[in-house]
């Protein structure tokens, strides 16, 4: 099951790669279930700017993403197309948890897409992602898992909110107690 989901992600990646062709191989390492890989090697060789320049289309190479943290502080980053939001967050020191390191087995990389218009540009969540979203704290209509969101040109300018855990925890506990 893990394998089929991973290949789905890969297929999704390949679709984007067709739109923005790159000569180097996609970062399959991230999706091979190789534990501990993602966060320990922040600098990969793929998606080098040189490659993108050669392709001559700078616009599709990187997209702008804004993260809004628990204290409403905004952080603007650039994410290469094809990279997952979770990985991008970690490379940019954004405090997004990733307990299962991107294998869609926890809900800790939950993010909220601020704008419904952007949310609608995302592929529908798989059953497996929905299973995890079921358990996410402070779930909203536009919640997604960061590990399952892959940067693509249409998402340029997207704003992602990190759920305020403490507040939601108190609310969730209250809701369950009553």
């Amino acid at each position: 099951m893990l394998v089929s989901r991973l290949s789905a992600v890969r297929t999704q990646m390949i679709k984007h790669l067709v739109k923005a062709p790159l000569t180097s191989a996609p970062k399959t390492g991230n999706f091979s279930g190789h534990y501990g890989y993602i966060f320990h090697n922040p600098k990969h060789q793929t998606y080098s700017s040189t490659t993108a320049h050669e392709e001559g289309d700078k616009k599709v190479e990187e997209i702008s993403v804004t993260f809004v943290d628990k204290d409403e502080m905004e952080k603007h980053i650039k994410i290469p197309v094809g990279m997952s939001i979770l990985e991008a967050a970690h490379e940019n020191d954004i405090e997004l948890e990733g307990a299962c390191e991107g294998s869609c087995a926890c809900s800790t990389c939950h993010v909220i897409v601020r704008d419904m218009e952007y949310y609608n540009k995302l592929e529908d969540p798989t059953d497996e992602e929905n299973d995890m979203l079921d358990l996410a704290f402070g779930l909203t209509e536009t919640s997604r898992l960061g590990c399952q969101m892959v940067a693509k040109p249409e998402l340029d300018g997207i704003c992602l909110e990190l759920p305020s855990a403490t507040r939601n925890f108190a609310v969730d506990r209250y809701a369950k107690a009553t």
């Binding site: 926890c106 358990l135 704290f137 855990a165 939601n168 108190a170 506990r173």
Partner: protein, 483 residues
């Protein structure tokens, strides 16, 4: 505003004047303990955090609770390992709160004590026959297949009958059912304990009944675990179509609860799917809704052994708006089996000197600050004593729940520091604890010794094409740690 400034000033005073560190002891090294340690280290640069555990091995239920066929759920251990290797963090295994060191002693040694030792006992049904042999708590069964040293010799009887009954329909029940039903060839490449794998390979169990007091809309499992068990190869799933009829109250419940709705949909879909080709060695999974256990039946042939469960039919009745309970109808039926697993909830166990709410099975607390009694008076606080995880909020939730739970407890600690409620005294912390344990001849297992166990387990696993071969007795664990 004045208060806030005073608080800030005190906080600064604490952190600058305190040339000695803030000494923190976390009891229990499962997710609640490790998330607490991680957040304490991050929030307080002066904090030194010691994590103690009664076992030689860290990670609590990630090691002994998470099912062996869920390796992706265990990846969080990587994060916990980085915490344990932090320069201001230490792990001391083989140290039992209550016998190696008392709570009073810990509180004297440390500025802050956070109890995160979980729930290591079980709720009981309180019905006749509960202590017949063949009736186990699901926790014991889970510990057994996960190589927990306390259940190494459980030897559940999987041979005398082809039927197991599991009471409960939560994720623990589903895990146990899946381990009983899944082809052992698939389990063989997991980190399942070898004694359990051997017993399962030899098991006669072909039918598993999952019994719930309420209906498919109220089933306590989550969609992931349900989807997984329904997907087992050559498994015949039996769900009575009449059980799937919903009432307006059920519809309302599903409208307000996404998990309930998705679980119900999965069950409905499974009920409609008929197996295409019956195979000779087919295994069966039966969902039994609206039944509660009334009595465990004793075998005629094998005295003292369970041979079945008498179940009472139930119906749901509203007790207050939005809340319904399963009430007995006085109609009974019997279901035969050779083994029963009770999966009706875990229970925490208190230690000497710890306020405890026996009714709720948790330590009385306000946002993680331990209260002196169960009166609910939030001003009667136990200075420097905190709680996190199942001991704080009861045995529910997923690993990630502890992330938020720890965040809340650490916020409470930070608040107490800010308000000057904690005083960094002459407490000797780590050195004092190790001295005390040494005097008592407690053989402490530090993290580097656990790493020896870890690498030996991986080495043994490698020989059998498993990620890990768990050492499942205290003797083996201590031997490898000491060598």
């Amino acid at each position: 505003m004045a208060n806030f400034q005073a608080g800030t000033w005190l906080f600064r005073t604490f952190s600058t004047v305190a040339s000695q560190p803030l000494r923190v002891c976390v009891v229990g090294s499962g997710p609640a303990g490790f998330y607490t340690a991680e957040k304490m280290l991050k929030a307080h640069q002066e904090a030194e955090v010691d994590i103690i555990d009664r076992l030689p091995t860290p990670f609590g239920l990630v090691r002994s609770g998470v099912a062996p066929d869920h390796p992706e759920t265990k990846i969080v251990v990587n994060q916990f390992m980085r915490v344990a290797q932090h320069e201001r963090c230490s792990f001391f295994g083989n140290v039992t709160l209550g016998s190696s060191v008392t709570l009073l002693e810990l509180r004297e040694l440390y500025d802050v004590v956070v109890l995160a030792y979980g729930a290591e006992s079980d709720r009981v049904l309180g019905i006749p026959g509960e202590d017949l042999s063949g009736v186990y708590a699901a926790r014991e069964f889970v510990w057994w297949y996960n190589g927990h040293p306390n259940c190494r010799y459980l030897n559940p009887d999987l041979k005398s009958s082809d039927t197991a009954i599991i009471l409960g329909q939560g994720n623990v029940a589903l895990d146990a059912a899946r381990i009983l039903l899944r082809p052992t060839t698939e389990l063989a490449t997991t980190d399942i304990a070898s004694h359990a794998l051997a017993a399962l390979e030899d098991s006669s169990i072909r039918k598993v009944y999952l019994v719930g007091r309420r209906g498919p809309v109220q089933a306590a499992c989550t969609a992931k675990e349900l989807r997984e068990i329904l997907g087992i190869k050559d498994l015949h799933v039996h769900i009575k179509e009449t059980d799937l009829l919903t009432t307006p109250a059920d519809e309302e419940e599903m409208k307000n609860n996404r998990i309930r709705k998705r679980v119900y949909e999965l069950l409905s879909k499974a009920a409609m799917t008929r197996p295409s080709h019956p195979s000779s060695d087919a295994r069966e999974l039966h969902f039994v809704f609206f039944r509660k256990p009334n009595k465990f039946l004793e075998s005629d042939e094998r005295s003292g052994h369970v041979s079945g469960v008498r179940l009472e039919k139930t119906k749901l009745i509203g007790i207050r708006p939005g809340e319904r309970t399963a009430a007995g109808t006085g109609q009974f039926e019997e279901l035969g089996c050779g083994i029963v697993l009770k999966s009706i909830g875990y229970k925490s166990v208190p230690v000497d000197g710890l306020p405890f709410d026996h009714r709720k099975g948790v330590v009385p607390n306000v946002r993680g600050c331990v209260l002196s009694d169960t009166s609910g008076d939030p001003t009667l606080l136990e200075k420097g004593l905190y709680v996190c995880g199942w001991l704080k909020r009861g045995p529910t939730g997923i690993i990630a729940t502890n992330l938020y739970c720890a965040e809340e407890t650490v916020a409470s600690i930070s608040e107490d520091i800010k308000l000057g409620r904690l005083t960094s005294s002459s407490n000797s912390g780590r050195e004092g604890l190790l001295q005390l344990l040494d005097n008592r001849n407690v053989r402490v297992i530090p993290f580097r010794d656990w790493e020896k166990i870890d690498s030996e387990e991986r080495r043994l696993g490698n020989l059998r094409n498993k990620p890990r071969e768990k050492l499942a007795t205290l003797e083996e664990l201590q031997k490898v740690a000491t060598d």
